[in-house]
């Protein structure tokens, strides 16, 4: 136990300040201000891998490390779409995941925000559209924010997620 406490004390706090919201990533701002007031900056996210190469997943994992400390911003990953405000979707949508993605979307309560992650999520990426791939996430479910990158760095992910919950408030 002493070992553990000593290691914790030695490490100190590594968390860095969060980046500003990446408003340029917003493709559809549809959050009402009233909902935003209720949500504040507390947000629950359900991640869906709809066909990714798992590169984006590595960077989403990194959001939870002490440097980005996403939970410290009031943002939490949850195990069910029914508990989620926002879906974080990676990959070109493989045909085999299309139905599962649609069902996950249907099971998500309002405000049902959708953030498409990575070049594949935004455009279909290197895999494109084919017999097995439906391409970008917006081809299957409505998308609010797109975060490009292969994979996007954690700071870009954070900026995109923050954009999804703050951009609407700035609009008249």
């Amino acid at each position: 136990m002493l070992h553990i406490l000593r290691q914790i004390a030695k490490c100190g706090i590594k968390t860095e300040p969060a980046p500003p919201a990446g408003d340029e990533m917003v493709v559809a701002a549809r959050l009402q201000e009233s909902i935003l007031r209720t949500l504040g900056r507390a947000l629950t996210i359900r991640h869906v891998d709809a066909g990714s190469c798992n590169g984006c997943e590595l960077e989403i994992h990194a959001l939870a490390n002490p440097y980005y400390n996403i939970e410290g911003l009031g943002i939490k990953f949850v195990a069910s779409p029914r508990h989620a405000d926002l879906l974080l979707v990676t990959g070109p949508v493989s045909k085999h995941m299309a139905i599962a993605l649609q069902r996950t979307y249907d099971a998500t309560p309002d405000p049902k925000l959708v953030v498409a992650v990575g070049d594949c999520g935004c455009t279909g990426g290197i895999f494109g559209e084919s017999y097995a791939s439906l391409g970008r996430v917006a081809n299957v479910i409505p998308v609010d924010v797109e975060i490009p990158g292969c994979p996007p760095a954690p700071s870009a992910l954070l900026a995109g997620i923050l954009a999804a919950i703050t951009a609407a408030a700035a609009r008249p």
């Binding site: 590595l58 960077e59 195990a79 097995a132």
Partner: protein, 514 residues
């Protein structure tokens, strides 16, 4: 491997490690596999290709590996009606590869198990995507298939279906548990959900750019795949990259191993109920990724390895930072290892959990890191050392225990060895160019690349067409052989231990779904 008593001749095959090709007939295919098995060979990969445009019907490729290197058996099927012998009776891991080969190319084995593996009703069952005359129609909608899971019946037996969308931040796949109380009687995996047509996509690409797609077969092994692809193309064009590039590639490969092992050690602690481990190891991993950005221009080193060499030269200004980082990691990991070892709660979860005994591992062909934790002491970097590994004095580390604790301990051991390699590579980096131009590859020539990634051996088989195009490319992940072994590893364990056992293997979905 001695195939002389079967009367089959072998010929040299372009490859980074010793490899031969061996054309065989149907009876010879099964007999050769048996002889290979008896001589200690293991199945690496099996795939098909459509060669009707060259009046050669279909070709089945089977790659096995033994102490002498790789052997690729090539069996020609004159038409789709002719079948080839079921090789899963020799190599159990062939089962899913044979089924996937049928789904994609339409050539069948004589096996009893003819259930689809990749196909999930999103295209007609009698259309085969990897045939050259295949054309996708826009009217084909995503479908759903009623997969014939094996049923278990009896008093108190019930089923737990999980997935494809899982509760954590992981890739999709379906697991069907049959349990009594909390105890797992049987697990059956259903994968293929992230099948996105990678092999077909390769055929629309120029050989010189294929490494970018190869590097996205499984993002956590992007260096290993891009390297295996580049090796295949360089072997075919007989153009070795400059020495400096070989050393820089090894640097990227070892740093990929370090980053993944750090990540896994954190998550293994977390899945054992020890969140401290996750925050500590994920902190260290983040440091490695940030240094990668300075070293390779990318946190995961994507697109760093390319045919002919590497994309960027070593930036001298970060040299001392890289060496300091090795010291820091060595110190920190040693403290954390002591903490893990002394933590009774954690060890209670790790030990005797998810055991794969060495005999079973050998029979099923368990490979890579998980294989070494179950007595399968093979490592391409040691068995067939190419520069720079031939001068770095690497040892194969292994264990006979085969439980989660062994897979954790092996990650610690390999992490230490990789840190030593990084230090050696940086200290002894040869001068010179980092890239050379490759000539256009000859049409219809085949080549193999094979790399010991952090998870195990990654194989890329490449065949080029006229004008520097890719005619066929089959990237093969070690997860193909290890997924079926996971089904055995969980038998008799309790359901809540599954995430821990699964994480201790940490297999790729994308890498096997393609």
């Amino acid at each position: 491997m001695d195939l002389s008593r079967l009367g089959f001749a072998t010929a040299a095959l372009a490859s980074a490690i010793p490899a031969r090709r061996c054309p065989v007939n149907a009876m010879g295919l099964l007999a050769s596999c048996r002889v290979a098995w008896e001589q200690g060979a293991r199945l690496v990969a099996l795939w098909g290709s459509d060669d009707r445009d060259r009046d050669r019907g279909y070709t089945l490729h089977v790659v096995v590996r033994d102490a002498d290197g790789l052997v690729m058996f090539e069996h020609t099927l004159p038409n789709a009606e002719s079948m080839y012998p079921d090789l899963s009776i020799v190599f159990p891991a062939a089962n899913r590869m044979q089924r996937a080969t049928f789904d994609l190319v339409g050539i069948a084995s004589e096996a009893e198990d003819q259930r689809p593996w990749v196909w999930q009703a999103s295209w007609p069952i009698d259309c085969y995507p990897l045939r050259r005359d295949f054309e996708a129609l826009p009217k084909w909608q995503p479908g759903q298939e009623d997969y014939a899971f094996v049923r278990v019946e009896g008093d108190g037996v019930h089923e737990i279906p999980v997935g494809p969308v899982h509760a954590g931040i992981i890739e999709p796949g379906h697991f069907r548990f049959q349990v009594v109380g909390e105890k797992v009687l049987r697990l059956e995996e259903r994968l293929g959900f992230v099948h996105k047509g990678i092999e077909k996509r390769f055929e629309a690409m120029a050989a010189a750019t294929g490494h970018r797609l190869a590097g996205r077969v499984s993002g956590d092994s992007t260096v290993a795949y891009a390297l295996a692809y580049s090796q295949a193309l360089e072997a075919m064009t007989e153009t070795p990259p400059p020495d400096r590039a070989l050393w820089l590639r090894a640097l990227a490969l070892e740093r990929e191993r370090i980053a993944n092992h750090l990540g896994d050690l954190g998550y293994l602690g977390n899945d054992g109920g020890f969140a401290f481990g996750l925050s500590q190891f994920s902190r260290l991993k983040e440091g490695v990724l940030r240094t990668n950005l300075a070293l390779f221009g990318h946190r995961l080193a994507m697109d760093y390895v390319m045919p002919g060499g590497v994309a960027l030269d070593f930036p001298h200004e970060v040299r001392s930072a890289v060496l300091d980082e090795c010291d820091l990691l060595e110190r920190e990991v040693s403290v954390l290892r002591d903490i893990y070892d002394e933590h009774d709660g954690l060890q209670d979860r790790f030990r005797l959990c998810g055991i794969v005994a060495p005999e079973l591992a050998a029979k099923l062909g368990l490979t890579g890191l998980a294989g070494r934790a179950s007595g399968q002491a093979h490592d391409l970097r040691v068995d067939f050392p190419a520069a720079p590994y031939d001068t770095l004095g690497l040892r194969t580390m292994s264990s006979q225990a085969g439980d989660v604790a062994a897979r954790v301990a092996l990650r610690f051991d390999e992490l230490g060895e990789s840190l030593r390699l990084v230090r050696e590579i940086v200290a002894r980096l040869p001068e010179g160019e980092v890239r050379t131009e490759l000539p256009e590859p000859d049409s219809y020539r085949k080549g193999l690349g094979c790399v010991e990634g952090w998870r195990g051996a990654v194989l890329v088989a490449l065949e080029c067409g006229p004008g520097g195009t890719i005619r066929r490319c089959h990237p093969h992940d070690p997860s193909w052989t290890n997924w079926p072994v996971l089904e055995h590893a969980v038998i008799g364990n309790i359901v809540p231990d599954f995430p821990l056992i699964n994480k201790s293997f940490n297999l790729s979905y994308s890498g096997q779904d393609l």
